[in-house]
Assembly symmetry: C2
Homo-oligomer: 501 residues x 2
């Protein structure tokens, strides 16, 4: 670090990090780098073969005092970063849920980065706020949310980074609502509810918000209900809590769970929660995007009775990370629980009450211009193509499901609803031992398939069963990739079974 | 919305939203669009002359069913979005704190968007995690953080979106630490501390975390202390709370406050907090970047005694929004308070204990590949240029300060420490009436200067005084812009004074 202790001398020509000619040249170079990357995307193993700590062996331990030519830095990224990437854009990526992407989103995001507004309130960049409000109104119409979620009706939408922030913000609003009703003196009495299939971020958001761990109800689900939360289970839990003098405050229903895309019955859960005055949030992070197609919209039935809903276009609506839409029915409930009013941000537009200040809709103050990429996706592609994109993925997943079902060694564990197939090799004998053998064999099969480097899929455990999750839908995935993936599972099945026993 | 009710037909050639040729063409077009924008950046008024709701009058109320050609969408952005932007990259923007940007950051961010990994844990993209850890170690060395904040010593850094998330995450870790010591039963007894100059996000993070509003101590500061938090004030508050059976839990010290870049005495505050076992966080969002220069590093003296520190390279280190670095001395304290372990994310790398899973260092699960732009900034420019960039801004601010001081009508309200000048027109008579007149006149002056469209500056109120904040440092700002801005203030001063009386 010796060189850092001296006052370094900058390059003699002066330092212009936003010189237009430099930017033009470097940006075009970067675009070509990306095109080359996409061209060769299938040649990379989906999951890299690197050991923990690999990168520190390739790069210096200390920052460099002197500049390095841009092209050399790009080469360094190629040589050191790319070999350690898990390639989410590789069409053979079937893990987790895919993070979809598009040219319109990439260009929109680049443009947003170049404008670089820190649009915490309306005045700090009116267009950023207004485009976000309008785009969220558009998307609300696309998935047919009730009018109450539109700005014109006192509701409205906001872009968050991820579902976690959406859950945390609405939880804070719910807490304020319930405590005001109860007389402000029962923070330790607040109880929150979700199923055991709810994303782990729910329990984490509750912990962050300071909900007493003993007051977080994780309600069990069962295979016979396809892992959806039973309204009578919720009612029983809420009744017991109310009888014990606790305050039921918040229910998180999921439309499309992470493990198996289970769908909670929104209308019935909202009906139960309504009796106790609890806030209902719908987490439709993944499946919300499917609702741009009329044939999937019924999964959101009952959303007219909930307080808030979130979905993440970065998952399945081509916007790239990060982009989570949150709509609330009563925006004042959200903003009064999250607003700040420091002197240095006071301004006449805010005082007029005519504008939206998005800092009061989120955890942070500063915020990126995320709306631009969502706007460009909706504008460049139109509803027609967005629907076709969802249907194409669902069609490919259906094809995979049919291939699984046609092989007697395998079974689909829960019926496919969207573009995720949950399957396994069947147990070869009944009873607990048979199940344990099957778990071991499926674990082995997944490992062998993933170790091949050809594809990447992940697992879950539902109802005590080890299940392989096959999520179709990276932007570049075509039918041939799905077919080849199935061939890989099929080819390795018997050997994996033998090896695991 | 009629068209949405039918199943739309996709374009006949099929839908390939990540077609390489399309992307190449659209991305190059976007780059040229950005170059044109930067070329003409000074021709836009810094703050737009639009009324609330302007955008809805320019764009349709409903999303379009059919796609629109990319070039047409860009033209639409030009015609509808740009006129409503507050132009943060305009060199005549002197408001808030600047959000600096660079070609390296833009290219790094574009590349990150194109790779689009959702790197919640190591396995989901090892390079993303490892580059982040290494880059944060580099930056820690650049600002000379003690070794304890490096990964090799049990500490470590993580990229958050903004300071708000950094404060919230460390607050949650502090709560766990203090409650464990106290025996888990005093959440309502936790007390947090900061000065009245601390960013509003502190109080908001406390509210979100469920800290009782009565337990948030906002300690007054005074002009004679240059608005920094006095250690004896902190000690008195903590002693009173401890005597009352409360649990002092968290102190947020600021190095470079938003109002006036005041610097809290970190070492002395840490010494006080240490007696009560409270967590100390240092918010160096703005001024942390200056510490890449040895001559500013003393402002962080005492950081060897704190638990965590955050700074935002998106403010003053050229990375673009969003990019906030958080370092902790004991990473296990952070991760045990934020970790989750759902089945669908279980993997051998995590179980080995050899890897960092960044989902356990932040609020959310998914996360962008933010490290790439920070890496590229450090690599492409080197310490030499980063220091020269900071010094150039400070030099320009010093020049502005000197011009203010040379005009007897004006005064610098608090001495400039970095690149923010807090000034006003002097009162023309002593006493409260004179102060009130001066407040009105300075408010009027700022309005007139801003309404000219030529520049944008903002205000604050400190020690009861209305002050104009002049923050130097957008990436494109040169000395001529600073001089012209001062001429504008000077030219409008007398008329503004008269008009305000």
């Amino acid at each position: 670090m010796g060189s850092l202790d001296a006052n370094c001398i900058a390059s003699p020509r002066g330092f212009s990090p936003l010189d237009i000619d430099d930017f033009r040249q470097q940006a075009h170079q970067t675009v070509e780098f990306i095109c080359e990357y996409y061209k060769g995307i299938e040649s990379h193993p989906v999951v890299p073969q690197v050991e923990p700590g690999y990168l520190r062996r390739l790069l210096p331990e200390t920052p460099s005092a002197q500049p390095m030519p841009f092209a050399k830095v790009l080469s360094e990224v190629q040589a050191t970063v790319l070999p350690g990437m898990t390639h989410w854009t590789n069409p053979n990526f079937f893990a987790y849920f895919p993070a979809t992407l598009s040219s319109a989103a990439l260009c929109g995001d680049l443009l947003a980065s170049a404008l670089n507004p820190v649009a915490f309130n309306w005045l700090s960049s009116p267009a950023v706020t207004e485009l976000e409000s309008l785009t969220l109104d558009w998307l609300a119409q696309l998935i047919r949310l009730p009018k109450g979620f539109l700005f014109s009706a006192g509701g409205g939408g906001v872009l968050q980074a991820t579902t976690s922030e959406a859950v945390l913000c609405t939880l804070v609003a719910a807490r304020k609502m319930v405590l005001e009703r109860a007389g402000h003196d029962g923070a330790d009495k607040l109880v929150v509810y979700a199923s055991d299939q709810t994303h782990s971020t729910f329990a984490k958001a509750c912990k962050i918000a300071g909900i007493a761990p003993a007051n977080i109800r994780i309600i069990p689900t069962a295979r016979e209900d396809l892992f959806s939360l039973r309204p009578d289970s919720l009612r029983a839990a809420m009744e017991a809590d109310a009888a014990a003098g606790l305050l039921p405050a918040y229910v998180c229903a999921t439309v499309g769970t992470t493990s198996s895309t289970a769908v909670d019955p929104v209308a019935q859960l909202a009906e139960v929660a309504g009796r106790f005055g609890a806030w209902v949030h719908v987490d439709a992070a993944y499946a919300g995007s499917a609702c741009v197609c009329p044939e999937f919209r019924h999964h959101l039935d009952g959303v007219d009775r909930v307080d808030s809903i979130s979905m993440s276009p970065h998952k399945w609506l081509l916007t790239g990370l990060d982009c989570c839409c949150l709509w609330v029915r009563d925006r004042a409930r959200l903003t009064t629980s999250l607003s700040t009013d420091p002197e240095y941000l006071k301004n006449r537009a805010t005082e007029s009450g005519l504008v939206v200040d998005y800092k009061d809709w989120q955890i942070g103050t500063g915020r990126r211009f995320r709306a631009l990429k969502l706007f460009m996706v909706m504008r460049c592609y139109g509803t027609a193509n967005l629907q076709s994109h969802i249907r194409s993925d669902v069609r490919m997943a259906r094809g995979f499901e049919e291939m699984v079902a046609a092989d007697t060694r395998f079974e689909v564990v829960v019926p496919r609803r969207f573009a995720l197939v949950c399957f396994r090799m069947r147990p070869r004998r009944a009873g607990a031992d048979g199940e344990a053998e099957a778990d071991a064999a499926n674990r082995r099969l997944l490992e062998e398939v993933n170790n091949s480097g050809g594809i990447y899929a992940t697992h879950t455990v539902i109802g005590g069963i080890y299940v392989i999750r096959f999520a179709v839908g990276t932007t570049l995935t075509e039918e041939r990739h799905v077919k080849a993936a199935w061939e890989l599972f099929r080819a390795k099945a018997d050997a994996a079974w033998e090896a695991a026993q």
